[in-house]
């Protein structure tokens, strides 16, 4: 398994972040305190990293590129927002505005689903996976793959966006849902909640990284890579690739839903813009920039691009799209496997420049 070293490095860095977030967030270390927005930002970026890993699991793992993971991300987010609104209602007895506008006297009955936290968590784990299963089954069964599959996932997300933009869908329409009161008993928007959520997100990324690496290293992971490299051959060998792909696809959807669930309380709002095809495309861009197949690349890409985005869209808003576009073109053309490729490539370049000055590389196994 390649990139073993980078996995441990990433895991170490994530653990360090996990320890530092509460310490710096609450100002427990003398002279070093992180402002709340930085904690929040770290948490958001971690959610994006989780989302990127979900895409990488499918793309790097099985060679199936989803351009619609925003759908599952938003699914988890909407479920979480429903739960937060229900608990806000239990505390304040004030109905959200969007329900009043639509003439509802109370929550529709099926919102009870989101009453208890464990049930909501269960819904986040199961419902997006069910949606992914239904869509994946009809697509993989008829052997829709490659570019076709990517395009259809994007169309699916786009359609979901149109649907959620409507006010009569009952999810807040284009204004979305906001007005969360408390998160796990901590006041929303407060420092404690921010630190908790950011730590949870980091922990989720860490867990997903370790779990995902174990998965990819297992027999299942090897079969996925076989699908990526030559699916027909695997089929001829007697494997039913449909179920292998479906399993990975559903796991990936669940991962994305968890990311959405953690993301929404941190930004305090959810609206259909999460379903914009552009976001789903950007996720793939993070993965492409970071490097596919090892999950660490996905984290690297998500962190790098999003930090750059947060910084540039404040500092030079008109410049950001150009930077992003050129970055993508550069990576796609010059570094086929993302920034992780830089290590291998730079070695080759340096060797070309000065063959004698570098220590010889161990022969590849």
């Amino acid at each position: 398994m390649k990139g073993e070293g980078s996995t441990w490095l990433a895991a170490g860095l994530l653990s360090l972040l996990l320890v530092l977030l509460p310490l710096l967030g609450f100002g427990l270390l003398p002279g070093l305190a992180l402002p709340i927005y930085a904690v929040n930002l770290a948490g958001q970026v971690m959610c994006f990293a989780l989302l990127a890993m979900a895409v990488d699991l499918m793309w790097g793992g099985a060679g199936v590129l989803s351009l619609g993971h925003g759908l599952f991300f938003a699914f988890g987010g909407y479920l979480c927002a429903m739960h937060l609104l229900r608990s806000a209602y239990a505390a304040t007895h004030k109905l959200p505005d969007f329900l009043l506008f639509m003439g509802h006297g109370g929550f529709p009955s099926w919102w009870r689903l989101a009453d208890s936290a464990p049930l909501t968590l269960l819904a986040v784990l199961v419902l997006p996976a069910l949606l992914a299963f239904a869509f994946g089954y009809v697509s993989f069964r008829s052997r829709v793959n490659g570019v076709y599959f990517s395009i259809i996932t994007q169309a699916l997300t786009y359609t979901a966006m149109l649907l959620m933009f409507r006010n009569d869908t009952g999810f807040g329409g284009n204004n979305g849902m906001t007005g969360f009161h408390a998160i796990a008993g901590l006041p929303a928007g407060g420092l404690a909640a921010a630190v908790l959520l950011a730590s949870l997100s980091t922990a989720a990324v860490l867990a997903a990284l370790l779990g995902g690496r174990a998965l990819l290293a297992s027999r299942f992971g090897r079969l996925l890579r076989a699908i990526r490299d030559d699916e027909p051959r695997l089929r001829f060998l007697g494997y039913d690739t449909l179920w292998l792909k479906l399993a990975a696809w559903c796991a990936s959807a669940t991962l994305a839903a968890i990311a959405g669930m953690l993301y929404v309380p941190q930004v305090g709002i959810i609206n259909p813009s999460l379903l914009d095809p552009t976001l789903s495309l950007e996720i793939a861009v993070w993965v492409a920039i970071g490097g596919r197949g090892g999950l660490t690349g996905a984290i690297l890409g998500a962190v790098l691009v999003n930090v750059l985005k947060f910084w540039l869209s404040a500092a030079a808003p008109t410049l950001w799209p150009f930077v992003l576009a050129l970055l993508v073109l550069l990576v796609v053309l010059a570094l086929p496997n993302g920034l992780l490729d830089l290590r291998n490539r730079s070695r080759a370049w340096l060797l070309e420049l000065a063959p004698a000055s570098l220590p010889r590389r161990r022969p590849a196994r």
Partner: protein, 550 residues
Amino acid sequence: MIGGAAASLRICRLGLVIWGALMCLVLSGGRADAAAYDRARLIGQLCSAEASDVLHGLNGMLAEAPGGSLADGRWALGVAQAFSAKALRCGPDGHGFLALPSGEVDAVSLAPAAAPADSRAPLPSLRARRVLEQVDAALRVFVAAKAADRLDAVRTLARHSEGVPANLAQTALAGEHDPEVARALRAWLVEAGLHAPDVAARLAAIAALGGDARAQTANQLMSLRADPAYAADPRVAAALDAAIAHVRFWLRIGDALSLLYNGLSAGSVLFMSAAGLAIIFGLMGVINLAQGEFIMIGAYVTFSVQQTLGAFAPSWIAWYPLVAVPVVFLLTGAVGVVVEVAVIRHLYRRPLMTLLATWAISLLLINLVRVTFGTQNLQFRTPPYLTGGVRVVGDFLVTWNHLFAIGFALLAFAATQALLRLTDLGLFIRAVTQNRAMAGCVGVSTRRIDMAAFGFGAGLAGLGGLALSPIYNVNPTMGTGFIIDSFMVVVLGGVGSLFGTALAALGIGLVNVGIEPFYGAVAAKVIALLMIILLIQWRPEGLIPALGRR
């Protein structure tokens, strides 16, 4: 829509003008016989201290309005307007003068004459003012030079028609040569006929109304039918029922036709944006996410051509859509070739990466245009032959801009089909699409074919942008709206032939347009997507799959 209808009747206008001129001759001959105003008596009545005399005089003017000659009409209009503006001066002897901005004149002869110092300026009473307004409008219907002025006058009269002579509308209609004013007059006549005391007149008006199938007429007829007092006479009720049935029938036909027409137009637009995509996808297995931006570039090039024409050859500006055709095709095609050479070519056999690369290109193009032109919608000077349309039946309006798009798509289809079937380039494109390796083996330069096809596809999308420019808002992000629908067309149609693309485009266009009125645009998209996903279960390679091994 009103303006559009006016333009659409341009063809008839010449005939109408000739006919109108003839009628004018006939009428003016007739009018010479009519008794001219007794100007002195009229002025005397207006100058009278008795309110009843004034009203009498005004009513007389109203009654004479359809009969008098043009000169009489102008004179009467001048007097009426002066009276209402308090510019009528009445001498003690009952002699009238008009205080015009150019100086005072005698009210009867209009010769310059100073009003006596002890003359008074009578103020029309409220009742007189009402009649005065009618007089003013009635005279303007005949005298006013501007069609808009006459139209306004007709509308004023239709609002306050009590006391207006019954033959006024008929007479005015006979002399009217502006189609819009004539239509307003006819509507007024029908309106008046509907409430005429005479049953025969009512029946005629109902029949006339029934012959004009519009949603508005149906509503009017139905509200009359629902009025028990009006429909008391069985003959009237029967005529109403017949008219309603007739109107409803034609309305339904019109609705069906306009559905078909709108579906056709939406399908044409889809075809223009999807044809290039399908060719490129079939050839190279690459989905070009920047295809929508080629449409946008086409529209911007069209705009630039229009601006250039406006600056250097203003007399040609109305023909900018035609002048722009080669420019748009070549420029957008050149952009496509550059993209292919600089990016796509290096991503051969990595189709998923091309998705991201072309997305980056689309981002780049959108923002380049945004920085250069700004984000606001472009203001096209749509030529007159592309505005408006002609009402065919019911509420079905054939709008010229949509017809332009449909015709353009048909031409593009024919041209592309000819290129693919009749030229060497088309032969090579088909060969490479069917078997790239074998085509390369027999000496086809596949790289060059890729480049040419990509450029051609881009140029086609650019022409799509040109065809869209009179219909859609043109702004830097306009392309993003097309891209997903275009993919659906490619997925549905397969890449085997242009017919598949055209079929899928029309199908999706019709489904979208057909579902929209009943369940909304969003439901239309959802249903279209579900149908496509289900259809793929049955035909995974699309309606018409590519032949050969891939």
